[in-house]
Amino acid sequence: MTPSRLTLKLLAACLALATAPLAHAAPTQGFLETIHKHVTLASTVTDNGDLNPYAVVIAPVSAGKIAKDDVLVDNFNDISNLQGTGTTIVDYNPATKKTTQFAEVPRKLAQCPGGVGLSTAMTMLKSGWVIVGSTPSLDGTTRTKGDGCLLVLDPNGKLVATWSGPTINDPWGNMAVIDRGDTATLFISMSGFGLPGPDVLDPKTHYPVIVRKATVLRLEISIPEGKAPLLVSQTVVGDGFAQRADRDNFLFGPTGLALDKDGTLYVTDGLDDVITAIPNAVTRTDSAGTGRVVTQGQLLQWPLAMAWSPQGHLLVCNGKNGQVVEVDPASGKQIYAQWIDSDQAQSPPGNGDLFGLAMTPDGSGFYYVEDDMNTLVKAAPR
């Protein structure tokens, strides 16, 4: 954990009161108030020096080198700390507390336009396959970005397939997945379409230009017994999301995805500080555009990856300030936030530190990564 979390937790508590004046009436409002401890579990830096942990994925099964409930984390940067150049995935075993390198993908892959820079789009299927997105760059900015691809690894970390094409452009945020065993449905945000480098400025704002071409793509895959998954079909279920290049954060764009039981897909877009809902995302055959606005602004500050709490609330990592925000998607109410990375070495504290998160298998806490320290952390009850 980061020092002074206690102090800032008090601030978070104040924020909670400010945003939820009825706190005294209800016994519990949500999940985050049960979280008190933050324990650093492991360094996510690999022997080759890769940095900047992004995706956090819990292994649903034991397969190959991976044990059930292991935590897989990939790295977006290489040793030079340039974004879009990381090639490794580490595997933290909560039982042994050991971290091993699960995979290292070649930096250059002919089948992956622009090469490899592993993003937050990662999942492990019940069949043992690991699928991970690449959002590559040569110089750490979108100026030299490639379209990237999706990489399929076997449970021993060996690359077995690469998916790219006109619908795939910088798979970016955390995946939402329906895993039926022999088939699966993946939802992935694609944030790279038409995105220039950070030096291309809007003359009015003097910030990099905003583009609205990002999509959310649904991929149907089949998983033949004993064979690598096959990409069967693709449908763009959302488009028109805002994107912007950023020197520090690489890009802003649609990032976090969370699929509700009724087929509604929730999407965070960091640039607009918004969570939107795409109805019938599992079955629809067309794009819902950016979907219905569920909640915007307030505590959301560059929202990134998302996960479901046991109560059916959304937990959203903020990029700008190291907070995780709890949202009731049914009401659209932002319940409160907890400052889980309050590292004052950044301003605001925790700025740029969070990205991926995933609930622990028992649902009592969650795992998250801290880019400032390159560590995997567990948030848990007292």
Binding site: M1, T2, P3, S4, R5, L6, T7, K9, H36, K37, H38, V39, T40, S43, V45, G49, N81, D248, D343, Q344, A345, Q346, S347, N351, G352, D353, D371, D372, M373, N374, T375, R382
Partner: protein
């Protein structure tokens, strides 16, 4: 022997004879008895290790260029003699009085007190094997403990400031005395060894017995093992019977560590203290009131989080967090002026910044159970890593002290 004062006489005489120094008075200083060395050079252990820390250091690492072992041994013999003389306030070598030769001693320490000068010698891995070659027939005598330091998390080692076949740590209360010592030794090694990297350093004077502060403003060295405890020094600093020719020596890790002082200075006091794990003014561990109060690493707050944060510098360096591992730290601050620096942590500031930090130096019986064991974890988890970057350094085997008439490291060169 020519003492510095004696040399003054001679030099003045020479100047007067040559008519170079206008106004130079003929020798007026009476020969003085040689000042006793503040710290004896010859002895069981090299000086400059458990010696009370002087205010300044001039540290140098050298690459050996000689082909022959005898040339290396000859330099070490000359270095030993010169270091012994300089520690006693003498010129590095006997000067003679020839006006036709360059002065054998550059002279900037003439008339100065030895200022508690110590000169400590170390051998890098390159003395034994370099680029796979056993240049001097010493490979078989390389101590197991003289490992190639592993790459640590976050290392940004600059080749030109890393490694070295020989190391010299000169420490004195007068920076000119320390500089003079290294400059002079380099000159004596001409044709055999050449500078690889150097670093000058300083530390605060303070009151006797007080822990000096580093440039981050915190007391640095509170947890050092007591040098007044010979048994503890034998256990943690001095190589024992396992060391062969290194018995009575020690292993030195030297690492220049750049500190992002501008970034650090913007941090709130409470955050600085949680990063370090101590109060800034008193030096007391968090949760305690006095500097030397024991660390309570088990103390928890009401939420079950540690009072001394789990990623704080003091916790990660504590013997209790490292299975009892201890090292003797003897660090100096440094200031190399301004440089263009790109910080490696958010917010990734770039620009002209003060190029300052800590010349971390520590001594231990075995680096594998000392620095490497402790730093392996710190390199990954220390919150201070957001402000500090290791930019060079090396590991050196510092032989035992020499008896008068022998040279430092002679045991290595015998019986081969």
């Amino acid at each position: 022997m020519t003492s510095r004062r004696g040399f003054l006489t001679g030099a003045a005489g020479l100047a007067g004879a040559a008519g170079v120094l206008a106004g130079a008075r003929p020798g007026v200083a009476k020969p003085q008895p040689m000042a006793p060395a503040d710290f004896a050079f010859f002895g069981e252990h090299q000086a400059g290790i458990v010696t009370p820390q002087q205010l300044h250091t001039y540290f140098a690492a050298f690459d050996l260029t000689a082909d022959k072992r005898e040339d290396v041994a000859a330099v070490l013999r000359a270095w030993t003699a010169a270091a012994a003389r300089m520690s006693a306030g003498l010129t590095a070598v006997d000067l003679g009085e020839s006006a036709d030769q360059p002065p054998a001693d550059s002279g900037e320490a003439l008339g100065l007190s030895p200022a508690r000068l110590t000169v400590t010698f170390g051998f890098g891995p390159g003395l034994f094997v370099k680029d796979g070659k056993d240049r001097y027939g010493l490979a078989a005598r390389r101590p197991e403990a003289l490992i190639d330091l592993p790459r640590f998390n976050g290392d940004q080692l600059i080749p030109a400031r890393t490694g070295g076949d020989l190391a010299v740590q000169a420490c004195a209360d007068d920076p000119q005395v320390a500089f003079h010592a290294v400059r002079t030794l380099a000159r004596l090694a001409d044709g055999v060894a050449q500078f690889r990297w150097v670093q000058a350093g300083f530390t605060s004077g303070g009151k006797a017995g007080e822990t000096p502060r580093n440039l981050m403003g915190f007391k640095d060295g509170t947890m050092n093992p007591a040098t007044t405890d010979p048994a503890l020094m034998d256990a943690t600093v001095w190589v024992g019977d396992e060391g062969g020719w290194m018995r009575g020596g020690s292993y030195m890790v030297a690492r220049p560590i750049r500190v992002a002082l501008e970034h650090w200075d913007r941090m709130k006091l409470s955050f600085q203290e949680q990063t370090v794990g101590r109060r800034k003014l008193s030096g007391a561990p968090l949760g305690k009131t006095r500097e030397f109060d024991p660390l309570d690493l088990d103390a928890l707050d009401k939420d079950g989080n540690p009072v001394i944060p789990e990623n704080s510098h003091v916790r990660l360096g504590a013997p209790a967090a490292n299975e009892g591992a201890q090292i003797l730290r003897r660090a100096y601050s440094y200031d190399n002026g301004l440089a263009f620096i790109a910080e490696r942590w958010p917010p990734w500031r770039q620009g002209m910044q003060i190029d300052s930090g800590l010349l971390f130096i520590c001594y231990q019986r075995d680096p594998r159970t000392g620095f490497v064991k402790i730093f392996e974890n710190m390199a990954k988890f220390d919150m201070m890593n957001q402000f500090v970057t290791h930019i060079g350094g090396g590991l050196f085997a510092c032989p035992p002290g020499a008896k008068a008439g022998r040279f430092v490291g002679q045991g290595l060169f015998e019986v081969v």
